[in-house]
């Protein structure tokens, strides 16, 4: 959807006049700034960009973007955005959601938007907690999480959002971190370029109710031992000096981490986001443990398949193109179709 003429927009053009009201220190500020700075790159006029959100801290996002926007109801943003996107192919439609909004109350809409491959860019701010309702565990909280609603520890196992999106047939799946602006924007860029649903999980710190949830991925002292930066076409190695690598052990179903020094170079997996079989991206999504070791970030999967929007629009376009009569004439013909009789 690139424009031939450069619009010369800046981050400032995407800031609305509304006072931002997240808690001081919230990861959402960093994401907002990164998105506002990234938007001019799209070279899409502001009036053709729409942010749709549900309910939760992250869902206040549209109020702060100087584009069109709708702050809707809990969990339903993908459904509302689907209707908008399908009927208005000229728009760039973004969904902003959280772990509770997208994976609990709105789980059904998320998976079906991904399944249909509606042309939506879905940003899921995952802080593993309910912030706006003041600190209950969420569907991405670790088992045993002690919160206001689970004083003895939560009993239910969490979703892995990347695995879930892949299981829902997502054509684009990525993950990034609120504090790494450069990486965040690189994933946004790839998502924006993707035709169809793009699902981006953004690890986001809630400094009030779940502070430090992703600290191992941010602390310069340890993060390199935890983060796997996926780069398309590159062998997957990580660690301060690339001392770890990812292999596909013969006879196994998934991927494993090995010391690079003990692994023949040809056995190291070369990342390919375009692999048709989602099993590869799924295996990547299963690498990290509860301690966040071996957490891949970047684009897990990016494959092309027809978007729901384009198929639906094509059907309507084909049907309307064949018409030679005015809509009124067509309507008169439709009303009089079937067996009619005339009384004089």
């Amino acid at each position: 959807m690139s424009e031939p003429v450069a619009l010369k927009l800046t981050a400032k053009d995407f800031k609305s006049d509304q006072e931002v009201r997240w808690c001081p220190g919230c990861g959402d500020y960093a994401i907002l700034a990164a998105v506002q700075q990234f938007m001019p790159e799209l070279n899409i006029p502001r009036e053709r960009i729409v942010f749709v959100s549900g309910i939760g801290c992250s869902s206040r996002f549209p109020y702060y973007m100087n584009t069109y926007g709708m702050h809707s109801i809990h969990g339903r943003a993908p459904a509302i955005a689907s209707g908008l996107s399908v009927s208005r192919p000229d728009l760039s439609v973004w969904v902003v959601t959280g772990d509770g909004d997208a994976l609990s109350i709105g789980g059904n809409h998320l998976i079906h938007a991904l399944r249909r491959n509606v042309n939506l860019k879905i940003l899921l701010f995952n802080n593993r907690i309910y912030g706006l309702t003041k600190g209950q565990y969420s569907p991405t909280s670790e088992v045993g999480k002690i919160t206001k609603s689970t004083p003895a520890g939560s009993a239910d196992a969490p979703f892995n959002p990347i695995s879930l999106a892949l299981g829902a047939e997502a054509s684009f799946v990525g993950r990034t971190i609120d504090s790494d602006r450069k990486h965040l924007q690189s994933v946004l860029r790839a998502a924006a370029e993707h035709e169809g649903s793009a699902f981006v999980e953004i690890y986001q710190n809630c400094n009030i109710f779940n502070d430090g949830a992703f600290e191992q991925l941010k602390d310069p002292g340890v993060r390199d031992d935890h983060l796997i930066r996926l780069e398309h076409g590159q062998p997957i190695t990580f660690g301060k000096d690339g001392e770890y690598c990812v292999v596909h052990p013969p006879g196994g179903f998934g991927l494993e981490v090995r010391p690079t020094a003990e692994t023949p170079a040809e056995q190291i997996v070369v990342h390919d986001a375009g692999v048709t079989d989602p099993a590869y991206a799924f295996a990547l999504s299963r690498l990290p443990g509860l301690d966040l070791r071996n957490t891949p970030i970047g684009v897990f999967r990016s494959v092309r398949r027809p978007t729901y929007d384009s198929v639906v629009q094509q059907q309507v376009a084909d049907a309307t193109a064949a018409q030679t009569e005015t809509p009124e004439q067509q309507l008169a013909g439709l009303l009089a179709s079937g067996d009619t009789w005339t009384i004089v």
Binding site: Y68, H71, R76, S87, N108, V312, W341
Partner: protein
């Protein structure tokens, strides 16, 4: 052999059989033939929710009733003059509705020991005295059909399945129906299997010729065409008319129509119908659930389409939160509720009017919407246009309350002139409306109280809307107490001040002291009962509400002009409750929730009681 021909002014026929016997199709065809002849018609299909209940059982019985006359009629008829019973179950299930003297045509081939036992007949009712007083015509429908098709290269099963066409042929002969449309229909339906076209036409002719030759049917009947307004007609069901009304709303507004829907009985046919009309710019989306269906419709409305969602009661319950959002966003949205018997799954293929309370009040917060109800199958077309008109002009959700009775029933529809349909064009906002180039999304039109519809893609009008309370004019988030009070009252006033036509009172004698007030699909039975009373010299007035919210401005005055107001409803008194609370009128309810429409006879009896005591 020439047979005696007798003139009748009206006939009610009920075709009844197993779910798999094709009774709905047989009834449809008979109706279409009857329409061609120019009779007035009203039909009532009645079928189980199960697609194929066990063969030959009472729960598997499906029926189709058609009432036709040489004058204008209002209902599908209280009780059949003729019952076609394709098996013992169909006879047993329908006999209760049959007055003595009625004709019963039975398919004797199905009256086997086993089939009789299935429905609890110890002996065949054809052999004992249980059908005394009826004119029973035993016909070996299946074996005669198979015999007539012996020369046709089709399977025995296909030959047996053509027995409904034999029955149709016989009935078409009995009532002197023109059958050309049925021949054309069979040619279309089985276009890909010419051997079935030939076999079904042969079965139809065999039934016709059987009537002509057998001595069992000594009389043939005629019902002359009704005197109807000049014009072109077609027979139409409520769901079909409603669908066409929505297509027409798209044409007359110039907006793309977007339907978000989830399959639910008895509303799915609207989704099916609209999905066929893409050439009108109609987009249909079968959503993952009821909530997504209304959400997608609202999203499309936000983008400048006419957003519509169609469902039944359980679906409206799920959509409530999104309808409230639409109230807050002040965007057009049409919600079609084809009511069925509840609560919960209830009786999905049976009718009821028990969603009125939900339509009027079933949302959180003060969330008023407009509510419109069609009174007959053909009226669904105009009611759909009216719902769209209100939604687009006043930027509000509108609930269109149809029900299973009008949705699946049919009647002749005088085709409207397209140019005479209401002009629904709207203007989107294109320019800033505030100082210094500011855009105020909640600055209202002083007359309609509607806010500007500024759709994405419009430069300079970028703005954010949402479910949080908005400040007047700017639409910014506001927790100001006075502003909330103002906005709640304004949203109420927006609905209350929508101008709707005055309610009309039908009181031909002019001296009635009792008024019957109805809404929705009860129009026909109430009207028929009032006519019957007037023919007996009694005076009674009838008024019918199409607009349930807001109500017509003259309604209070009308209600207070009568000594008694009676409100018949297929619920436990939902409109009566509203009328009593709003107008302080001591209205009497007459209520029935049997999953079936009122009969004119029971209403006549009830109203006569009221007249006696007034």
């Amino acid at each position: 052999m020439s047979k005696q021909i007798r003139q009748l002014d009206r006939v009610v026929i009920r075709f009844a059989g197993d779910s798999g016997d094709g009774m709905q199709l047989t009834g449809d065809r008979f109706t279409s033939e009857t329409a061609q002849l120019g009779n007035d018609i009203s039909t009532l299909p009645n079928f189980p929710a199960e697609i194929r209940a066990p063969a030959g059982t009472l729960p598997g019985v499906s029926s189709f009733q058609v009432h036709f006359a040489d004058y204008d009629i209002l209902t599908p008829g209280d009780s059949p003059n003729v019952l076609v019973a394709m098996n013992p179950a169909a006879l047993k299930a329908n006999l209760v509705d049959l007055p003595r003297g009625a004709d019963i045509i039975v398919n004797t081939d199905e009256f086997t020991k086993r089939n009789l036992a299935k429905v609890g007949y110890a002996t065949s009712p054809l052999d004992d005295d249980s059908l005394d007083g009826y004119a029973v015509h035993p016909v070996a429908l299946t074996s005669m059909t198979v015999g007539a098709l012996a020369e046709h290269a089709i399977s025995k099963k296909d030959a047996e399945r053509a027995k409904n066409m034999f029955a149709l042929g016989l009935l078409s002969w009995m009532y002197s129906r023109p059958y050309e449309s049925t021949i054309r229909f069979l040619e279309r339906k089985f276009a890909k299997r010419p051997e079935l076209v030939a076999a079904n036409i042969a079965a139809f002719r065999a039934g016709w010729n059987f009537g002509e030759t057998t001595e069992d049917f000594a009389v043939r009947y005629e019902v002359k065409p009704a005197k109807m307004q000049p014009g072109t007609y077609r027979n139409i069901t409520g769901n079909a008319a409603l669908s066409l009304g929505l297509v027409a709303a798209g044409v007359r507004s110039g907006l793309p129509v977007f339907l978000g829907a989830y399959p639910i009985t008895p509303a799915s046919d609207i989704l099916h119908e609209l999905s066929k009309h893409k050439r009108f710019g109609v987009t249909t989306m079968q959503a993952e659930d009821e909530i997504a269906a209304v959400g997608a419709a609202l999203g499309a409305s936000y983008g400048g389409a006419l957003g519509i969602t169609t469902t039944s009661g359980p679906g409206v319950a799920l959509k409530g939160e999104t309808i409230s959002l639409a109230v807050a966003l002040e965007l057009p949205l049409v919600i079609v509720d084809v009511q069925r018997a509840g609560p919960s799954t209830g009786m999905p293929t049976k009718t009821e009017q028990a969603d009125l309370n939900m339509a009027l009040f079933g949302r959180h917060g003060e969330a008023p919407v407009a509510v419109v109800a069609p009174k007959s199958p053909a009226d669904c077309f105009h009611a759909a246009l009216e719902a769209a008109r209100i939604a687009l002009t006043y930027r509000t959700p509108v609930i269109l309350l149809s029900d299973n009775y009008v949705a699946n029933g049919s009647e002749p529809w005088l085709l409207p002139d397209v140019d005479s349909l209401p002009d629904l064009r709207v203007e989107f906002a294109t320019e800033p409306n505030g100082d210094n180039g500011a855009f105020l999304p909640y600055l209202r039109d002083p007359v309609t109280l509607a806010r500007p519809w500024a759709i994405p893609g419009t430069p300079g009008l970028e703005h954010r809307i949402g479910g949080l309370e908005k400040a007047d004019k700017t639409g910014d988030i506001s927790y100001d107490p006075a502003n909330h009070d103002f906005m709640v009252r304004t949203r109420a006033a927006r609905i209350e001040t929508i101008p709707v036509p005055d309610v009309e009172v039908e009181d031909p004698d002019g001296d009635a002291r009792v008024l019957v007030l109805g809404w929705g699909s009860t129009y026909g039975p109430i009207g028929a009962a009032c006519r019957a009373l007037r023919q007996r010299g009694l005076s009674i007035a009838q008024a019918h509400l199409r607009h349930l919210a807001p109500m017509p401005a003259n309604l209070g005055q009308v209600l207070r002009s009568y000594d008694r107001v009676v409100i018949p409803e297929m619920n436990l008194g939902q409109l009566a409750h509203v009328i009593r609370a709003t107008y302080l009128v001591d209205a009497i309810g007459y209520n029935q929730v049997r999953g079936l429409p009122f009969t004119a006879a029971e209403l006549e009896t009830t109203l006569e009681e009221v007249l006696k005591n007034v």
